[in-house]
Subunit: 893 residues, 2 copies
């Protein structure tokens, strides 16, 4: 359908096995209108109606909230056709046509816009409805509901006035609930309601159904711009320019007695993905009643009823004919749409009507099972299956979760900073966390916030809770990297470390008490929650296998510890893309050597301290190499400024001085000397390697000695990649590469073993990206360090970007640039770097490490610009594998 037609034709009728529209016209008719047309075309029992296009909504706003000319005639004709099809007439006192008027945008916006039901009722036609249904109470109750809904939505009279009148009426008569009211009562209420409308608006309640309809259509258009719709659109990136359609449809009634019912069905189980119709229904009820929760709906299938232990009969038992018809339609819809459907239906006096169908929402496990099953059934292709899974949602699959049946005792709610659930005893001190964990205890580290020197405690803990900090705070970033559950910024939390307790909302939890953490919801729970372990075989395994076949991008992990490396390998990592050697130095015993090195006044003293670090560092690398086999392992030489290893503040310094025997005054003086105004932009990265070559020399020696030892022991040669951080000029790399080569030569001479290795660089400064042509002459690989590249390109410190919330509200950046790569800015630099780098060295290997490497949108960008691999935290490896496959498939399209 072309835009021309869309501009000419404003109403699209459906029903009676025919339709002007079809599901392909979703943009014009909204999701609901398009699917109703499609179901009509399929010959399914759909109450007839017509849809006014989204274009009309846009014209309405473009014209300053005026309905376009000609619409009234066009809608009038559609209405006449509807009367003909139903055999009912609008306002007919004997057999009135009643309609619903609903919104319907291109994307589902549940409950955000307005709806009017039972439209067409008036003082005359209500009697016709009473006669046709044989139920006066039903008719007058419908009428009062209509007045209330219409007055609220169209006339702007608040619900309160009506509710108040109803309450007074019931109180005066001592009625408990609505079921106590008979048709006389509703007749009286209708009169009172009409009186309210007259007093509030100065006009009687409109009796002409066409006036009613006109008002309702405009009200639906208006609701496109109400506050909650605007908010919802912003939240879900829905453009205002889409507009909403309006669907006018003949009413059917599930509340016309015991042969009537209403319900919702899924063609497969949306929780588990089981291939069996699933849903709930209520006899003698309207959709509202299900939503309102006044009555408990029953399962539709016998099997589900048996499973859930319901007492009432299922639809399969109570209405076997309708059930059979529904099952057949469900199967047909699923085949037609090639996806699991979420169906709304109504049975009016034994006749089944379909009110809506759409692709059903589902849990991630269900999504996996459905996708894999449908491939098995020949319904969809493997590529389609891969595209159907939200890669980000895989996170849920990879961590333990709290059993859905467990009753939660919520102590505190913070930000869901890192997913997964954990149970353990409360500990406040990182050192104590490490000690207890070494004894096999499960601990949860609770801190005001965390700092680099807490890393060993964070690693030892099952979960981390902080009182301060956001989604990109140190705690959050590190926890995600380690795959630890984390709740950040639990702002009511008061930690009294001296007293060994924290308090929140009047409750006190002491050190050693058991708590549970749900990092996926941000909840901190009292007591030990029941955990469910992840299931990584079955559909998950099958789908990941298909993804691996389809993707071009390699996936590596950021990992330093043997535990993380093993987990990464088990999650399918094809190598280590970033081993941050500084993380290896925060260990209790080692940090003492590091501090000794920092305090050294002479090269000789520094070398003495480095000699103590050499064997432990060598041991680290041996362990990594053994685990990773022949997979590449990219080791980044020391990166952070040295002051990060020193204690800060007098108290900390005193404690360290006592613990280590290093003089407090020296620690204090050195910390003062090393202090930096902007440590992000300070004396770190390769600048350390340039100014203290002996540090990098030690690390290089440890790498070569470890590789040699592993090769001798196992017979395979590790795949060593040495990465120089924070390079901004080729000459830095020249100097450091020469040093590494010299150490390699020394090791070869000493051992007689030749260790193959490559040397590359992080591209994490704008200058490095710009000078990539030059730098590539010296670098065998580029790894984009997009964390720092984002900070420098945007001139924005991740730790200080508290204003980003306001920026997000104002839409200044499309996404949080620290979570999803800023393609326009940072991405442009990456493109420049690739172009220049590959021109100089066509075989340059390129990858990305850092937080963005596990973000699907970023991975799609990496595919587009042709990187060789992404590297991310171990828990994100499966996400990256899937996202890479999706990106490859979409790129081919």
């Amino acid at each position: 359908m072309s835009e021309m037609i869309a501009e000419r034709q404003r109403t699209y009728s459906f029903g009676g096995g025919r339709a002007d529209g079809a599901s392909g016209l979703r943009n014009l008719l909204g999701g609901k209108g398009a699917n109703l047309a499609e179901m009509s075309l399929l010959g399914l029992p759909v109450p007839p109606g017509f849809t006014i296009t989204t274009e009309t909504c846009n014209h309405y706003y473009a014209a300053g909230r005026r309905m376009p000319e000609g619409l009234s005639e066009e809608a009038g004709k559609a209405l006449e056709a509807l009367e003909t099809l139903t055999g009912k007439r609008f306002g007919d006192p004997s057999n009135p046509l009643l309609v619903s008027v609903r919104s319907g945008a291109r994307a589902s916006m549940p409950g955000m816009m307005d709806t009017v039901l039972n439209l067409g009722l008036g003082d005359a036609s209500v009697e016709g409805l009473a006669a046709r249904s044989g139920d006066r109470r039903f008719a007058w109750d419908s009428y009062r509901r209509f007045i209330q809904m219409y007055s609220h939505v169209v006339l702007g009279v608040s619900h309160d006035a009506f509710e108040h009148a109803l309450e007074v009426y019931k109180d005066e008569r001592d009625f408990r609930n609505d079921l106590d009211l008979g048709h006389e009562d509703w007749t009286e209420i209708v009169a009172q309601f009409q009186d309210i409308v007259l007093r509030r608006t100065g006009q009687p309640f409109p009796q002409d159904p066409r006036t009613q309809l006109w008002g309702a259509i405009e009200a639906v258009f208006r609701s496109w711009m109400n506050d909650r719709a605007i908010f919802y659109r912003k939240l879900h990136d829905i453009p205002e320019s889409w507009g909403t359609a309006v669907t006018v449809q003949a009413m059917v009634f599930g509340n016309m007695g015991l042969k009537s019912a209403t319900g919702v069905a899924f063609t497969r189980n949306p929780s588990t993905g089981e291939n069996a119709i699933y849903g709930e229904f209520l006899i003698n009820a309207q959709g509202e009643d299900v939503v309102a929760g006044l009555r408990t709906p029953n399962a539709i299938s016998r099997a589900a009823r048996a499973q859930l232990g319901g007492r009432e009969p299922s639809m399969e038992e109570a209405m076997p004919v309708a059930f059979a018809e529904l099952s057949a339609i469900a199967a047909r819809l699923e085949r037609h749409y090639r996806d699991m459907q979420d169906i709304e239906f109504t049975i009016e006096e034994g006749t089944l009507f379909m009110l809506q169908t759409r692709n059903g929402k589902r849990t991630t496990p269900a999504a996996l099972r459905i996708a894999v099953d449908m491939v098995g059934e020949g319904l969809i292709t493997r590529d389609e299956a891969i595209l159907r899974i939200d890669a980000k949602a895989l996170d849920q699959m990879l961590h333990p979760t709290i059993s859905p049946n467990y009753k939660r005792d919520v102590l505190a709610i913070g930000l869901p900073a890192s997913p997964g659930a954990a149970v353990g005893e409360v500990v406040f001190d990182p050192d104590e966390a490490a000690t207890l964990a070494a004894d096999g205890k499960a601990v949860i580290l609770v801190r005001v916030d965390t700092a680099p020197e807490d890393i060993h405690g964070m690693h030892a803990a099952r979960a981390i809770v902080t009182a301060r900090g956001g989604m990109t705070s140190h705690a959050a970033v590190v926890a995600r990297g380690m795959g630890r559950a984390c709740v950040c910024g639990a702002s009511g939390l008061r930690i009294d470390e001296a007293a060994g307790q924290f308090s929140i909302g009047g409750r006190v939890v002491r050190k050693g008490e058991i708590i549970s953490v749900d990092g996926s919801t941000g909840q901190v729970l009292a007591g030990a929650a029941q955990l469910v372990q992840p299931e990584l075989s079955g559909p998950f395994g099958a789908l990941m296998g298909w993804a691996d076949e389809r993707r071009r991008l390699r996936v590596r992990a950021n990992a330093e510890t043997p535990a993380d490396a093993r987990m990464a390998r088990d999650f399918g990592a094809e190598g280590i893309g970033l081993c941050r050697t500084e993380h290896m130095f925060f260990d209790h015993e080692r940090v003492a050597f590091v501090r000794e090195m920092i305090l050294a006044d002479s090269l000789a003293d520094r070398n003495k301290a480095l000699a103590k670090l050499l064997p432990v560092q060598r041991g680290d690398f041996e362990a990594l190499f053994e685990i990773m086999g022949t997979r590449p392992v990219t080791i980044r030489l020391l990166d952070p400024p040295l002051h990060e290893f020193l204690p800060h503040g007098e108290k900390d310094i005193a404690a360290v001085a006592e613990a280590t025997g290093l003089p407090a005054s020296a620690l204090m003086a050195r910390a003062g000397e090393l202090h930096e105004s902007n440590p992000m932009l300070g004396h770190r990265g390769c600048r350390l390697g340039i100014t203290f070559p002996e540090i990098y020399d030690m690390q290089a020696r440890a790498i070569f000695e470890a590789a040699g030892a592993v090769a001798a022991r196992t017979g395979f040669m590790p795949n060593v990649e040495i990465m120089i951080p924070l390079v901004s000029a080729k000459k830095e790399l020249d100097i450091l590469k020469a040093n590494v080569s010299r150490v390699a030569d020394e090791c070869r001479v000493a051992t007689g073993q030749e260790i193959p290795f490559s040397v590359g660089t992080m591209i994490e400064l704008p200058r490095a990206a710009l000078r990539a042509g030059d730098i590539a002459l010296a670098a065998e690989f580029f790894s984009f360090g997009t964390n720092d590249l984002t900070q420098t390109t945007l001139g924005m410190s991740r730790d200080d970007a508290r204003f980003l919330k306001i920026y997000a509200d104002l839409g200044i950046y499309d996404k949080d640039p620290f979570q999803t790569l800023d393609q326009d800015g940072v991405g442009d630099l990456m493109r420049i770097a690739l172009e220049r780098g590959k021109a100089a060295r066509p075989v340059l290997k390129t990858g990305i490490c850092g937080e963005h490497g596990g973000d699907p949108a970023t991975i799609s960008f990496c595919e587009e610009i042709g990187l060789d691999y992404v590297s991310c935290s171990p828990f994100r490896v499966p996400i990256a594998r899937l996202a890479a496959a999706q990106a490859a498939i979409l790129r081919e399209k």
Copy 2:
């Protein structure tokens, strides 16, 4: 001459009115060799000789320090030609040829390489010299000097051995000095020296002149790689690949009696530029004697002698014929080389010989006068005059200097961080500095280091001295910006503020005592030095006028205060390119309002504080607009993070709390809240304007109201440019531009006055440069903030880049990127920004502000990429005007 010839011909003869070479062959023959050839060609009296090329030196090193084959034959022929020309023979016992062997590189490297004089003497030829000169003592003294020099330079025998033998000889005979020794003594000494050589080297001193010559030539080549030559080359960016030439030249003797002399002359006065021959000479002396300072040389002209009050007759008086000849030659050389010449000459028994000529070094005032005079004389063009002045050196002209005759009592030496000299009383506290200055006292602020809150004190002081910090420390940068003399990092300085004194090297200086500061040398002096004020008219004015006619780039100044704006205008600034409004807030009284604003909890309270700032800010702008007339004034809205306005540390906070009445606890808490890990990358610039729009609104209002008031008062409309800092996305600019326009509308409505203005942005983040196409749609001008752009592009905090010294030593960056723009990195981003920005808005106005805007190399780059203007600190405006003209002229070439 082509490279082919250069490779074939290794020796170039000169003398007797002929020469193989010429001044154009400087690269091949070195400066000395080329000019000797040129003088020969001019027919000037040059002792004949020959030059071995720089290529030969390179061959020598390329072959592993071996003399190239064939050289010996070629040099032998040149020697024979020399013998023919002089009528003397090498080693001839009756009339020996004696030669000097000197180095000569493309660029002058005074004293860095070796020289041998009197070569050709031996036991036989010394008698020939004695006979020819009629002076045995002279001959034997020459011989012993030759042995000593040759043995040291060629044979590696240290001077000490010879000096010791001579001392012993004199002691035994009770001789006081060398003049007491007769020819018999020198004969005896020569025997002793020869004995020393035999003992030290195992070989007798070489008697064959050819062997001597060969050794001396190789020694000169070797000296190209001695430590001091290498160091000098590094210091002056002289490539190793240039090599040195060797010139072998017949000796002439200025020490052959009272009709002989030696001297140095400048064709014009190198201190003042006066057009009169100037120089010194000594009768009966060799060049060494002048250098050694054993005798005081005399003025060559009668006028100079009269001026200096010398007692001995001038050369003009003592040797009128030679003087007349010298004067004529000097005039001819100047006309020939079209520049002031520095000439070395010798008179041997009444005959004048020219030994060297080269362009003479001169002071900046002399350079200006000479250039302008030569234009007047028709010798050079205005363009040539403009190109002859080192723009950077103009700095000397613009500040007071310490009288050259003043005897300095140096207290301390630090870094020459900001040029100029000042005298004042010592003060340690910035507030006190401001108070005393307001009373008309001249003060010098002495601090350990400075911080943004000290700015009012720095501005009030005549000069600033710090104990800590480098050339790019806060104190240095701010002082240069303000044009205050500054000495930084005077590391021996111990400041005891409590005791009101500082001490250094055992000396104590109390508060209130007078000291002097020489920011051009880094010296801090005791007492009041005698100052010389700059002279800006005369040749300076003439040359600047020519420069203004030739330059395309406009030159603006960075200025906030009326004093700076006035100075900038007087120095020729064509507008203000950067008015940093935050500097206006550090004033004592105002900072209290700023702090009140920062502490405000509500918008209402913040507005109350802003209302107090509005009138003072308006006053600031009125003053600027009045001074600048219709010249453009670019006002940058508030830029630094708010915490910069708060006191830091408990002591400061308590002091501020007491002084202002603001609660200390609130100050402390707010400072804690606002603390940032990397303030450079934090909540500053337009991020403030986005999150606290009321601050920018107040500033915009102050601007429009001020412009309106000035227009009403003076009748001319100020040229207002409003600049938004730290933009990274177009939307930031959209939002803030809309706010500014709204305020403009409000002001127009209130006053009925239409104030024309433009809105532009700093380009100081890599993302802004990359998104320039987008941003230019909203910005009417770009001003490159290269300070921050350098920090973010290189990922390097200026305050923390202590490692840059090591980087400079290793040559990692060509220049200090904070002083001269990093063209390869930052410059590349500027190119990208211009290309994209101008594609989107062809009439985009572009400029640069920040430290680089006053750096000649950067200005040349700005000319090349086509910026419209540069903006720099007021004292750099003349430098920028000249550099811009030079860039324009060179670009046309």
